[in-house]
Symmetry: D3
Subunit: 340 residues, 6 copies
């Protein structure tokens, strides 16, 4: 069964180490994007994953293709053309200084693609699961239209849809997000919601907005998750990561899965993130992997949580770990052992 993820890829330009943009004589280059990251995670977990987007017909577009094929992602559905590849400049933070992002993605090949360019019945032929995040419809009205077409087509064809709400304040306002996302949620089977996603994307309040105390407000999160399943009855599965952030790197994390009306939860773990990007994508991909395989809900949330924690130890957008490594982290209670 092939899983199709759909979104906009970006060239990520990052100053070396913790340098600021003004200090950088070079940028480390990586290619990412929420749904591309999810596709890579799925492929590394052994799934048949395909990615859909529109890439410029230039060496940057080729480089994105290569970055996906390298890990076994099927890129044969990708459209080529349009003006440019979107870019984001990423400054790693540390301690009291948060990471920061300068987006330069306006006018990209994906953002300027017309929704009519995507021939969904053909694109979804042979697809067993469709995955997108809230970033895709935020990129442009045309892409929002394309996602609408896609999920309608999925619903018609009985293809399950996974949606990571993934609200991005720099891309759209809550009002706009809610208008679009609540419509899409009608066709979503599995919903991932973190932090501000509940409120910004769906208008459901999950906590007081203070990221340093999410776990302390777990009840409120649980209520919000249940509220999603009530508001969008097609959506029977909701998953969420809760954090008590202590600094840019340190925090306590836990995850909750609501499935068929019951909650499944992980213990709280103390983590120190080497790089904070992509943990949500790793979580969503691993969750999808388990759900499609028919794993039990407790094993599913434990596995997806361990996958997202491992992402915190991997540089770049992609969660370059395998199933055995994830299982090993699931089992570990305390210090790690160095096998040699």
């Amino acid at each position: 069964m092939k899983i199709l993820t759909f979104g906009e890829p970006l060239l990520r330009l990052k100053p070396p180490d913790h340098l600021r943009i003004a200090q950088a004589a070079s940028f480390e280059a990586a290619y990412g994007g929420a749904e591309a990251n999810a596709a890579v995670s799925l492929a590394l977990l052994g799934d048949d994953a395909a990615y859909l987007t529109k890439l410029p017909a230039n060496p940057l577009g080729d480089a994105v293709l290569g970055s996906l094929r390298r890990f076994g992602v099927d890129t044969s559905r990708i459209l080529r053309g349009g003006p440019r590849l979107g870019v984001y400049y990423f400054e790693k933070g540390t301690d009291l200084r948060p990471a920061s992002v300068v987006y330069d993605r306006a006018g990209s090949s994906a953002a300027t693609a017309k929704h009519g360019e995507f021939d969904w019945p053909a694109l979804l032929d042979g697809i067993g699961c469709f995955y997108f995040s809230g970033i895709t419809p935020a990129v442009s009205g045309e892409l929002a239209g394309a996602v609408e077409d896609a999920v309608s087509c999925c619903r018609r064809l009985g293809i399950p849809v996974v949606c990571d709400l993934n609200y991005r304040a720099k891309l759209w306002a809550p009002e706009k997000a809610r208008a679009v996302m609540t419509g899409l949620m009608e066709s979503v089977d599995v919903c991932l919601a973190n932090d501000e996603d509940f409120n910004a994307s769906l208008g459901i309040r999950a906590f007081d907005g203070d990221l340093s105390h999410c776990i302390d407000q777990a009840d409120s999160f649980r209520a919000a998750m249940r509220e999603i399943t009530k508001t969008f009855p097609h959506c029977g599965t909701v998953a969420s990561i809760l954090r008590n952030a202590r600094s840019t790197e340190e925090g306590d994390w836990m995850a909750i899965l609501l499935r068929d009306g019951r909650f499944y939860e992980t213990p709280v773990r103390r983590v120190r993130a080497m790089e904070g990007v992509g943990a949500g994508d790793a979580f969503g991909a691993a969750l999808t992997h388990c759900l499609l395989r028919g794993d039990g809900p407790q094993d599913t949330i434990d596995f997806a949580f361990a996958a997202s924690l491992l992402k915190l130890t991997v540089a770049g957008d992609q969660n370059l770990v395998g199933e055995a490594e994830i299982r090993s982290v699931m089992k570990k209670s305390g210090g790690s052992s160095f096998r040699r």
Copy 2:
């Protein structure tokens, strides 16, 4: 006397060494642009140089500011705002493989600036020379309008105008270029024209288009230079570099200055370019430096030519050399000596 240069700055992203974009795990970052390069050259030669553009109000825009101030360029006239900083990806070539460029400059803060944002009487207050290249009007119709306003204002105020024709095939077609540039040339005092510039920008044929034989067609270049002064009588000074290119790095170079009806020429020199970007900007800036100082025409062309040759030995867009180094190259007949 302050010299004002006007144009669009770009972030240049270059794979390390001679790597291709598809091979690059990082990009070297430099900030350049023809007129910014000229401003830096002028400042390093001791002139009071200012640069005018519009920069986004983000860390990338700050980085451009810093790259200019660092070498003493006055950045106080620069506008801030707009969507983004333009980018170009630069692959260094070698031997049979030419250098190549992927432009990603559409929609930049400079390109989307309205011509009315530039208050020329105020901006030109205290300015003794105005410098632009043909890239600026090629960037957008608004910038073309801004240059028209600027040179009209200069003509009114008696400020001499230097124009490096600098035709860029990836930015506009010859027909479009000629329509704009021939209009601007009515107010230009000093014109720099190289290679295809003659024909593409002004419709004056200087050679057969084969870059490996320009010097062999020097007479034809001389005739084209003279034709410029006839067609645009306000323009009494034309300078040009002629090349017999042998490979991406190697070639024979010479320069010709036409001033007040007489030609002044340099000997032919064999060069091996470490990096081919910015030699024209270095030439234009050094020529302007000499003309404004009142140097004799032979010394002027010799100095400007040596400056452009030295640029071939310096990485990045900017010609980071001083007057003494240029004079030393002017004197050298053969091998260079290593003083220690």
Copy 3:
């Protein structure tokens, strides 16, 4: 109002990452020095900052100029000449291994400058505040004389003087330091004193010398601060950072301001320093910025404290942060949020 800072700049050579000098095949190069750092901080905060020193007339001196101009510091008062630029080799420590420094600054252009080379009435013309640290008079007897001339001239002209005591055991002995610094303090308006500075520079005992317990001895620090204002009545403002250091990177920090006889204090914050250099300079510059702007004393110490904490997250000597970032850290109680 222009602020003039005065001191010796240094080339800092640092092995990559945490490598030791014996392991280094290359050194990262940065240009710093307490007063140069302060000038850059002030310029980045929007102040009109100028730096005064003497630099060799060689490419290293030019590089220092560039590193200052880049961030908007006025370098027009700087003298050129003399034998060399001072150097310091810096090994970053970690955990139980402290950072270490090998100074190679003897015989520098600044250290060998004659005090008579500094024409203070001219240099201080148009200056609204004079800033130096105890490193400057420690560099050489001539520079000590120059600082004496400067503060006398300031007192005569009514220019307020800020002095960061900044005792350096590798530059002079406490006896020598006290002899010079107590004299200078007669003309100082604002005094910054940290750790061993109280005793080594002024002979006033603030704590038992154990850096792992400064905050626990806050009363003793407060008494010492008050003692400074008593001993040097011209000095009505004293500020200090107190630390409980736990390892090379980790510790608890707080700051105290004594102004017009009252103490203003920040809460204690747990920090993890990526790089420990320059936090005092960032503190001094931000404090000066607030005092000159007429901010209230509580806001002043909160702002200066947040600025110094942010410096711990920035590589190099300079605190490359802006006012908005500092204000954002001031507000944050716990974990940091990643806006995208």
Copy 4:
């Protein structure tokens, strides 16, 4: 039509720039091998290329997979298992110092694979062309047996076989090579022979062994090529590159194709190689590409020659160029133009 190439991949470890192994604090890592390089070239030219080998089931094996998939090579036939990935340390030479190689490939997964592990009827199912170089049978007796099985199977199935003789003196002696290669040549359709290959692999003398004068002995090369077609009548096509090497980087190159009894030749071109590895693989792949497409013989040899010259400008083992770039080099007589 799918093309299958078969051989041993290697991790190439190269000191940065021109450093010697004893100077290297790091090694650039690339994955190559003659037949892997050919597969990448074919894929980049738009062919459906697959690679066959045996890779260790560890992250190094995974990295090889990724390096091939990245450029579109089908890796689905590759066996996994065995002890290790072979390595070669590569020192780039310059001027009078030749490049040098330290092989560390003994005991690799490919070298220790049993010939019976390769199920040729299944592996060759759907294959339209089989490509190998003389390195593969040189790696081990088992691999020599595997190649024998493969070419027999090809002959039976009517699959054309391309063989690049590629003699490697560090892998086997001429006597051993001749014994094996003359047997294999009975089933080879297209043979690539360069320099010492003629004599070392087939016992046919093409020149006096002096690489600085190959072109001067072109007649002798032509005679040797014809001799191949006489000795191995199944082989109707022979191609060869001739060089007058002047230094490690510089030389004159030309290529000759013998096809159906007629010679087709390129002009002599002066080249300067940035990196001398992989030009033969690029030549072989491009030749195969043209022959399979049915290009005329003159266009075939011109195209293959241009492809191999372009490889000299690309770092690493793989010829990362496309058809348009090759065609552009074919047309160029002299200096290269920088399009922007």
Copy 5:
């Protein structure tokens, strides 16, 4: 008195920073190996240390020689020849992801050396102490034989023998290890045993196998240490490091020395390891240094413990610190001070 250490050196290839092997475009190269590391530590502490191994006669072997001579290790006894230098690929872990190692050491010059190649009476001439770790006999049966010959010869000549049990699960099974190590222990004077070494190498159970709780089981460790001295009466000295590992980097550490029937112990210290390799080698070398100098047992264990903690702050295999730095860490109770 010269100390001879004996073992297999390895080229360590490590991706930059925390990158995974699949992400690495380069590898940092370092030369190490337990006994080579110990020799370097001894030399840096001022001892006359020699290293014995067999190295290939190629540039990699030369590089190992250089890496040892550089720090003053006597390499004159080293044999040259054999097929290759062993390699290990090292991925640094972080937080929940443990470090991982891919060994590629089979067939190395050391592993394939015949035990008869080592002429012990000659090699041990003038040697005052012989040092090896359990890795050496694990490398090959021949090396195990060589160690047996060596310790017999030492016993005959009255040369004290230090053995770091250093069990490596990737090299041999516990049964094999016990059979060899218990025989060797008959001639060992000083034994270092950590973590699983007790059980895997000697069949003596020291703890429940959970590395996150070793210190909590200190009594059990003490009993196991005493058991060693009972089982192997020639061995009067046993030393061990105990850890409560909290993450890949963080943990609590302490050390225990059993000498002449009495225990000497260090306090527990919280550490954060920058790099976890080589702390045991640093511990063993420093312990040997103190024992040979005749230091008291408490000072010995304090010094060796501080040396091993400092290794956690140094990149690479070797503990590049001097006696003064170790003594300074011994004295420190809390935060470290930055002397400048």
Copy 6:
């Protein structure tokens, strides 16, 4: 027989690639110095070489020690102490831009050593040859005195003395150099003289000063060499490299040896230098190696010339090549072959 070389070592700081100092965010670090380079060359050729100098007792001094011991140089005679290690900043040139050097060596430990610190009878005990260059007496009057003491002592003890005149215009004026060097030449047995050395150090005119035409003036060089043997009859052997420099990298080179009244010469070879530093030191060391071994004069000059040419292909100050590589270059007439 041990050879002792004597001089000042320097830390060489070089911007990466061809960057200028103002562009450098880092410096590559290497340790060199003419006589240290010669000692390394001798050790790599298998000679027993020792180096004498005075090094600061800090990590920089340790690093110099390590850089020498690594290649087998005996460092046991080196004095420790004094203020600092000398530094030189090195900008690689290219084509028309010459390499340039900023010396920062004043006040170094070597330069401030007193001549009385060198106890020559003890230092020369067991020494069979003494080697110095004209840089050593140029560093300071004290070092000049030390060299005088050394060569007197050598003459008394019958130890042959090799002197590379090595004039450095940035260290002393010709008048000063001649006064010192002509005195020292009374005790020199073998003299190396290149380019301006003849005139600047000894007042003997060898050519017109134009480095682009030295070979064309070979007769004049031969006469000057003969003049040396006449003026300093103790000196029976003179060797010189002659160059026709064409650019910073390219030139024609040849070498001449005058021994016992006869000239021995190499053919002229076209070279392209990757890095121009240290060729003279490589020449001097190889010549010394051959003379001490008793090689014939033609073989001696051919070998020394090939060694110096190979140095042009090696980065850094040291000629990291072995005897076999040098012999291979001696044999080669044209293009180099890549053995694999």
